[in-house]
Subunit: 269 residues, 2 copies
């Protein structure tokens, strides 16, 4: 395990440093009000762009030949070689409001898929990281998914699909109602990367969302699997989550139940 | 303003110290798995009881004649004299899961109503406090509600009424759907006291919930009003929020819009 962990030591070091540099920008600009609208509910701030520039500069300085796929300057999502998948500020709406659930998400992937993950949440004081085959960590302490196997005792995280019309939103909220009724409760924090990090850390048992971009979830998905959890697409979809943007993640123990609930609504979403 | 602030200096000092002592218990026991169920989705932990004992002991040591209204050992909610309204762990489900959105909420009230408020969230590293007529603070820095007056740019916090049957839950989620569609998005963090503190700090523009107990919201409501915001009951209700358990809170600027949305659903909830 330790060998595996060290195989990507350089990529991990660069991901951590790039995330820390972007996190500094987040801290410096938190609550800044200077925002312009890209589209409804999708604010992009100068900080977002500055954060992305910082991350890309750091990656290019060390790995000039690697591809970079980032929210604000998307390279080809179809790239299959050495590539970095970057969300310079995940939870942008939170960031704009000074709400602490916001983070930098950086994944490094090679031909075998996501290999290194860093999710840095400066306002929470937490840095999550994982290396494929090497485990997952929060502030350098190993983390594991929770052992809760009774859905009735499970806490779920989700994001509401507010950009896809009220019809889909209402279907999604009917699914959320089932989840709230059958499980313990649902949390909606506003950052997919952190939601997945919280699954990895055992703070919620599962996570479900649709309409996601690769940079929202690439790092978080590796955190979950390296912490002993499970990540799949939605039932009946047949595509990988990074391709479909539809993610179910869990501690593994409640995954069958979560797939069952999602299966009731998947075709209408 | 400073005179007003100092008039209740002793009560504030005691509330802060009691909250800090309870917060230490929260930090020490975070993620503890030893829980028993009071009822579905309403976990009480040994930490909850220990936290409440610590808070009450601190209050009694300094103000032995004051009434204490607390979640686990509720005195008379109808008390109108000097009284302390205590939630030893708000966001219990989060606490049980090691999720950082959990806090100690302590309000002191006299014949004129809530006068001192402390909301201490140790895992977020934040202590909010307010004194009637003396302003609101986060980690001793003054806070103000946000200036967003366009509902379309507003972020709202809420709690789902999971203990009142699926019928009410579904009505509530229809209201949430309207809010998500008309505003920017909704956050569901799992702690009413912190939701209100976040309104006070300008991190969300408003908050709506039903089925609340006085200890969930007494401190948070004072934080909001002292930060320049507004707190009311729900339209058509006629009762005070502390009595009805139905709260609308906002930065003031979007309050009319929020009352309008709530008004569409209030009679069905």
């Amino acid at each position: 395990m330790m060998d595996r962990y060290l195989e990507f030591a350089a990529e991990l070091a660069v991901a951590r440093r790039a995330a820390a540099e972007a996190a500094e920008i987040i801290v410096r600009r938190t609550g800044a009000t200077e925002v312009r609208e890209k589209e409804r509910s999708d604010l992009v701030t100068a900080a977002d762009e500055a954060s992305e520039r910082a991350v890309i500069a750091r990656i290019r300085a060390h790995f000039p030949d690697d591809a970079v796929i980032a929210e604000e300057s998307a390279g080809s999502v179809r790239s299959v070689g050495r590539r970095w998948i970057v969300d310079p500020i995940d939870g942008t709406n939170n960031f704009v409001h000074g709400h602490p659930f916001t983070c930098v998400s950086i994944a490094f992937a090679d031909a075998a898929g996501p290999t290194v993950a860093v999710v840095h949440a400066p306002l929470l004081g937490e840095v999550f990281h994982a290396v494929r085959g090497g485990g997952a960590f929060a502030n350098d302490r190993p983390i594991r998914v929770s052992e809760v196997d009774d859905p009735g005792r499970a806490l779920l995280a989700t994001g509401f699909p507010f950009k896809h019309g009220k019809g889909k939103l209402d279907v999604f909220l009917r699914m959320a109602s089932d989840v709230i009724t059958e499980a313990q409760d649902v949390r909606r924090a506003g950052s997919a990367a952190l939601d997945l990090a919280f699954v990895a850390a055992g703070r919620v048992e599962g996570y479900f969302e649709i309409g996601l971009s690769p940079w929202d979830v690439a790092a978080g998905m590796l955190l979950v699997t390296e912490a002993g959890g499970r990540v799949t697409g939605w039932p009946g979809d047949g595509r990988e989550p990074l391709e479909s943007g539809r993610v179910l993640a869990s501690n593994g123990r409640i995954h069958g139940w979560l797939e069952g609930v999602a299966g009731r609504y998947a075709s209408a979403l």
